[in-house]
C-alpha cells in the first residue's frame, strides 16, 4: 500500500511538470512584451535592459524555464503586474475562501445526491424515482451561473431571506486565525459571525453543488441498482434479513465505491464551477481572481492560479484513488 502511494506520487510529478511547461509557455505566447507591461509606459531602455538581465530574459528560452521553475519550487511565483504584490500573497489571501466554498458545495452535493440516489434506486420506477432522475437531468443541464442568478433572484431579491454578496456582515467584529472563516468563527467562539458566514455561504454552495449533486444522484442510483441485482444481495435476502438491513448495511457500502470515484473525478467540475459561482456571487476566491487576472493580462497571476488549481486537482485525484482502495477491500495495488 505504501509503495502504491509512492508510485502514484511519482506519477504526479511529470503531470505537474507538464502543467508548469504549459503555464510557462503561456507567458511567452501571450501578446505583448511582459517587461514593458510590468514597467509601464515611461520605462527607459536602460530600465528595460536591467530588468531583462535581472529576470534572465536575455537567456535562451529553456534556460529561462529552468530559472523560473527553480523560483516556483522555492515558492516564488513572481509579482502581480497590477497590484505589485507577490502572487503567492494574492492567491493565499483568497485560497481559503474558494476551499470553503468547494467543501460546502461538496457536502451539499454528497448529502442530497446520495440520499436522492438511494431513494431512487430502492423505489425504482416509482414516481419518486422519475422525479429524482428528471431533476438530476435538469441539474446537469443547467449553467451554474444561471442557477446562481436564479437563486439570488428568488432567495435574495424576491424573498429577501439570504444575502447575495460577500462572506460576512461587516458590522460583526471578526478575528481571522486560519483564514478559513467558518473554522475561525468556531475557534473564536463567535456565534454571530458563524451565523453570518453560514448564511452567506448557503446560496453559492447550492449553486456550485447542484451539478455535482445531480451527477452523484445518478451515479448512486445506477450503482445501487447494480449492487441490488447481485447475487450476494439475494443470499442476504434469502437469509431472512429485513429489507432495510439488506439495503443499508450491505448495498450502500458497496455502492459507494464508484460514487467516491465520481466525486473525485468531478472535482474538476467543481473548480470550474467555482470560477463562475464566485463571479456571480462576488465571492473573494481564487476563481474570481483568475478571471480578473485574465482580463487584466496579469500573466504572472494567471500562471500562479493555474498552477494552484492544477495542483489541487491532482492532489484530490490522488486522495480519491487512495480512498477508493481503502473502501473497496477487493482491490489491492501491490
Amino acid at each position: 500500500m505504501k509503495w502504491y502511494i509512492i508510485k502514484r506520487l511519482l506519477q504526479i510529478i511529470p503531470v505537474i511538470l507538464g502543467v508548469t511547461l504549459i503555464a510557462f509557455a503561456l507567458i511567452h505566447l501571450a501578446p505583448g512584451d511582459p517587461v514593458r507591461t510590468m514597467l509601464g509606459q515611461h520605462a527607459t531602455q536602460q530600465e528595460i535592459d536591467d530588468i531583462r538581465i535581472k529576470y534572465g530574459l536575455d537567456q535562451p528560452v529553456y534556460v529561462q524555464y529552468f530559472i523560473w521553475l527553480g523560483d516556483v519550487l522555492q515558492g516564488d511565483l513572481g509579482r502581480s503586474i497590477l497590484s505589485h504584490e507577490q502572487v503567492t500573497t494574492e492567491i493565499g489571501a483568497r485560497f481559503p475562501n474558494t476551499i470553503e466554498l468547494a467543501i460546502a458545495a461538496t457536502i451539499f452535493a454528497v448529502l442530497i445526491g446520495v440520499v436522492a440516489g438511494i431513494i431512487s434506486a430502492t423505489k425504482q420506477y416509482s414516481i419518486a424515482d422519475y422525479s429524482v432522475m428528471s431533476l438530476a437531468l435538469f441539474g446537469i443541464s443547467m449553467p451554474v451561473f444561471w442557477l446562481g442568478i436564479m437563486l439570488m433572484m428568488i432567495f435574495g431579491v424576491i424573498l429577501g431571506w439570504l444575502p447575495i454578496g460577500g462572506r460576512i456582515d461587516l458590522l460583526i467584529p471578526f478575528h481571522s486565525v486560519t483564514g478559513f472563516m467558518v473554522l475561525d468563527s468556531i475557534i473564536t467562539l463567535n456565534g454571530a459571525a458563524l451565523i453570518s458566514v453560514l448564511s452567506h455561504l448557503i446560496l453559492p454552495a447550492i449553486a456550485l453543488g447542484t451539478i455535482p449533486m445531480a451527477i452523484i444522484a445518478r451515479t448512486t442510483r445506477s450503482s445501487m441498482l447494480e449492487i441490488l441485482r447481485q447475487d450476494f444481495i439475494r443470499t442476504e435476502r434469502a437469509k431472512g434479513l429485513s429489507e432495510r438491513k439488506v439495503i443499508y448495511k450491505h448495498a450502500i457500502r458497496n455502492a459507494m465505491v464508484p460514487v467516491v470515484t465520481v466525486i473525485g473525478l468531478n472535482f474538476g467540475l467543481l473548480l470550474s464551477g467555482a470560477i463562475l459561482t464566485e463571479t456571480v456571487f462576488s465571492w473573494p476566491g481564487v476563481g474570481r481572481l483568475v478571471v480578473d487576472a485574465v482580463y487584466a493580462r496579469d500573466y504572472p497571476l494567471v500562471v500562479g492560479c493555474i498552477l494552484v488549481f492544477a495542483l489541487v486537482f491532482v492532489i484530490v485525484n490522488l486522495i480519491t484513488d487512495l480512498l477508493y482502495t481503502y473502501i473497496d477491500p477487493r482491490i489491492h495495488y501491490d
Binding site: 451565523i195 462576488s282 473573494p284 482580463y295
Partner: protein, 556 residues
C-alpha cells in the same frame, strides 16, 4: 433485531444539518436588522477598489473617495460648493503680479503618525511631484500635476509655518486648484519610512486615520481623536467594495451597509419609495463623451506641461485616418441620438451635453446649437469625406461605472448600433480599468468612451485639461481626442492668465464655438451625482466635485 444503526445516524445527521441551516437563516435575519454595536460605523459601498492611497498619484474617484478622509490640503472647499476656505493654511497673500502666493500655515496640527505638520511637509508634498531630482519623484506618475499644476515653478519654505508658491505665470484657477486632492499634504516621515510602499500606508492630517486595506474587499478608517477641528462624530468609516450594483442595492436595503455610490438609475423608483433610504442627488459637475482620436500627440520631455518647439507632433498608436477628417467626426455626431440615450439609458438622471462642460460653469456657451440626430446628414457627410460605404473601427469602453456614465458597456453598444446604421462597423474593446486609463492616456484607441468630473469648479479644469493641445502628452494625456488646435489652446491659456471674470467667460465661449465646429468629441451627457444612504445617516453633503467628505456625518 431492531433498526440498523447506520440508518439512524445518517438520518440524524441530515436532520441536524437541515435544522441548523434553518436556525442560522432565521437568526441571520435578526442579526442584520438590529446590530448590537455601540460604535458609530458607516459602511459605504463603492463600485471599485482604490488604486493607490497616495492622493497625489491618483486620477480616479475610487482612490480619492478614501484619501479624502485621511488627507487635507492648504485650502478646502466650503461644504457643498467649489468655493474655497482656509484649511491647513490660515491665510494667504497673492502678490501683485499674481506669480507668488504666500501661505501662513496652521500651527499645532499633527499628522496621524504624531509628527508635526509644518512648512517642510508642505514643500515635500509639492516637490516630490515636480522636481525630478527629488528622491521620491520616482515613486509615482503624478499625472495630475501636469493637468493642473504645471504653472508652479517652485514651492519654498520661508520659515517653519510660512510657505511660498512661485508660479511661472499668473493662473486664475490656482487658488481653487489648491483644494484638490493632488496637493494634499502628506507626512514626509511616513514617506521616508515606506518609500515605494507609502501608497499603502497613508498618513495625513485629516479627520480619519487609516486602519487597514484588504484588497478588493474593504478599506477601514477610524476617527482621528486629535483632529485639529475636533474629533468626527463617526467612529469608523468602512469603504466596502461591492462591484455588483444589484448587490449594493440589496445590501443597503437589508441594512448591511449604510451608504452607497452609483445606484442604477433603473432602481430609483424602489429607492425613493423605501422609507428607510434617502436618495441624495444633484446635477453633476461632469461630462461623459465619446472621444475620437484625431491623430497626434507629443512627448513632454521638458516636463513643463507645454508643447515646445523641440517636442514635435508624433502619430498616436491609435491613429486612424477617417478620424482625422472633420466631416467624419461631424457625421458621427449626427448619427447618434443623444436624447434617446439620455432618456432611456440614463433614464432621465442626466441632461444631454452639447458642450464640454456643464451648463452652470462660468463661460458656458448656451448659444451653440447641438448636432441634431440626423442619419441622412451623417451619410451625406461620410460620402463627401470619401467613405460612402462606411468603414470599420473599434470603440473602447470602460468596464466600470463612472459618475458620468453608469453603464458604459450599454452606452457603447447603443453607439455601436447607431453607427451601424450609417455603415460604420464598430467592434467593442474592453479591458480592466487601470489598463484602460493607461492605454487611452497613451493614445492607443481609435475612439473611446470616457468623461470627466470637475475637480475645482473652474472652467479651466474642464476646457484646458480636456481640450487643450498641451494635454496631448503621450502617456499622461488629458485630451483623449488628441485634438490639436493652437487657436483653441491660445484662447484657453489666455483665459487662465487673467483674473477678469467677463474676459474669461468670453474667451471660453469662443473656444467652445471652435471645438463644436471641429467636433473632436461627441458630448453625450452631464449626469447627476447620486448617492444613497440609510435614513439614520445624517449630515452628508454632496459636493459638486463628487468627492466624499465624512467629517460632518453623524448616525442616529
Amino acid at each position: 433485531m431492531g433498526r440498523d444503526k447506520s440508518y439512524n445516524i445518517k438520518a440524524g445527521v441530515l436532520a441536524i444539518v437541515v435544522c441548523g441551516i434553518l436556525i442560522a437563516v432565521s437568526f441571520s435575519g435578526c442579526m442584520e436588522t438590529t446590530p448590537t454595536v455601540t460604535e458609530k460605523v458607516v459602511i459605504f459601498a463603492c463600485a471599485g477598489d482604490a488604486d493607490k492611497l497616495d492622493p497625489a498619484d491618483v486620477t480616479d474617484g475610487e482612490s480619492t473617495a478614501r484619501t479624502d478622509s485621511i488627507f487635507e490640503g492648504l485650502v478646502e472647499y466650503k461644504s457643498g460648493t467649489a468655493d474655497i476656505q482656509p484649511c491647513l493654511a490660515t491665510s494667504w497673500n497673492i502678490s501683485a503680479d499674481g506669480k507668488n502666493i504666500t501661505f501662513y500655515l496652521r500651527q499645532g496640527v499633527k499628522f496621524h503618525d504624531g509628527t508635526d505638520f509644518n512648512a517642510d511637509a508642505v514643500v515635500f508634498s509639492f516637490e516630490r511631484q515636480y522636481n525630478t531630482s527629488n528622491p521620491y519623484n520616482q515613486y509615482g506618475e503624478w499625472a495630475y500635476w501636469g493637468y493642473m499644476f504645471s504653472d508652479i515653478e517652485k514651492v519654498e519654505k520661508i520659515d517653519n509655518y510660512t510657505v511660498n508658491i512661485m508660479l511661472s505665470r499668473p493662473n486664475a484657477a490656482m487658488m481653487t486648484s489648491l483644494a484638490m486632492f493632488t496637493v494634499a499634504i502628506v507626512s514626509p516621515t511616513n514617506a521616508a519610512l515606506w518609500k515605494e510602499d507609502a501608497f499603502k500606508h497613508p498618513v495625513g492630517t485629516g479627520p480619519f486615520k487609516f486602519v487597514e486595506w484588504v484588497k478588493d474587499d474593504h478599506i477601514t478608517v477610524e476617527a482621528n481623536k486629535e483632529y485639529w477641528r475636533g474629533a468626527p462624530k463617526l467612529d469608523k468609516v468602512i469603504y466596502r467594495v461591492i462591484t455588483d450594483p444589484s448587490a449594493r442595492l440589496l445590501a443597503i436595503q437589508a441594512g448591511e451597509i449604510q451608504g452607497m455610490e452609483y445606484p442604477d438609475p433603473a432602481s430609483f423608483n424602489s429607492i425613493t419609495s423605501d422609507a428607510d433610504l434617502q436618495l441624495l442627488t444633484q446635477p453633476g459637475m461632469n461630462v461623459g463623451y465619446l472621444a475620437m482620436n484625431n491623430g497626434y500627440g507629443y512627448n513632454d520631455a521638458n516636463h513643463n506641461g507645454m508643447r515646445d518647439t523641440d517636442e514635435p507632433w508624433v502619430k498616436t498608436p491609435g491613429y486612424f485616418v477617417p478620424f482625422t477628417n472633420r466631416s467624419v467626426r461631424q457625421a458621427i455626431n449626427y448619427a447618434i441620438d443623444k436624447n434617446s440615450i439620455v432618456e432611456n439609458l440614463y433614464k432621465g438622471t442626466a441632461i444631454v451635453a452639447k458642450n464640454g462642460m456643464p451648463p452652470f460653469m462660468l463661460g458656458y456657451n448656451d448659444d451653440i446649437v447641438d448636432y441634431p440626430y440626423n442619419t441622412t446628414k451623417a451619410r451625406e457627410l461620410l460620402s463627401e469625406a470619401g467613405y460612402p460605404n462606411g468603414f470599420n473601427t473599434t470603440l473602447w469602453v470602460m468596464p466600470v461605472s463612472r459618475p458620468y456614465m453608469f453603464d458604459p458597456a450599454k452606452i457603447g453598444e447603443a453607439i455601436q448600433s447607431y453607427l451601424e446604421d450609417v455603415n460604420i462597423h464598430v467592434d467593442i474593446y474592453q479591458i480592466d480599468w487601470s489598463t484602460y486609463l493607461e492605454k487611452t492616456q497613451a493614445g492607443e484607441h481609435p475612439m473611446c468612451l470616457l468623461g470627466w468630473t470637475g475637480d475645482n469648479g473652474d472652467p479651466d479644469n474642464f476646457m484646458n485639461v480636456l481640450y487643450g493641445e498641451n494635454q496631448c502628452t503621450l502617456g499622461t494625456a488629458g485630451n483623449m481626442a488628441f485634438y490639436n488646435n493652437t487657436e483653441v489652446q491660445d484662447l484657453l491659456s489666455a483665459a487662465l492668465q487673467t483674473y477678469d471674470v467677463d474676459e474669461r467667460a468670453q474667451l471660453y465661449e469662443e473656444a467652445q464655438v471652435i471645438i463644436h465646429d471641429d467636433a473632436p468629441f461627441v458630448y453625450l451627457a452631464h449626469a447627476n451625482q447620486n448617492l444613497v444612504f440609510t435614513k439614520n445617516v445624517q449630515g452628508f453633503v454632496l459636493n459638486p466635485t463628487a468627492r466624499y467628505f465624512f467629517y460632518p456625518v453623524d448616525m442616529t
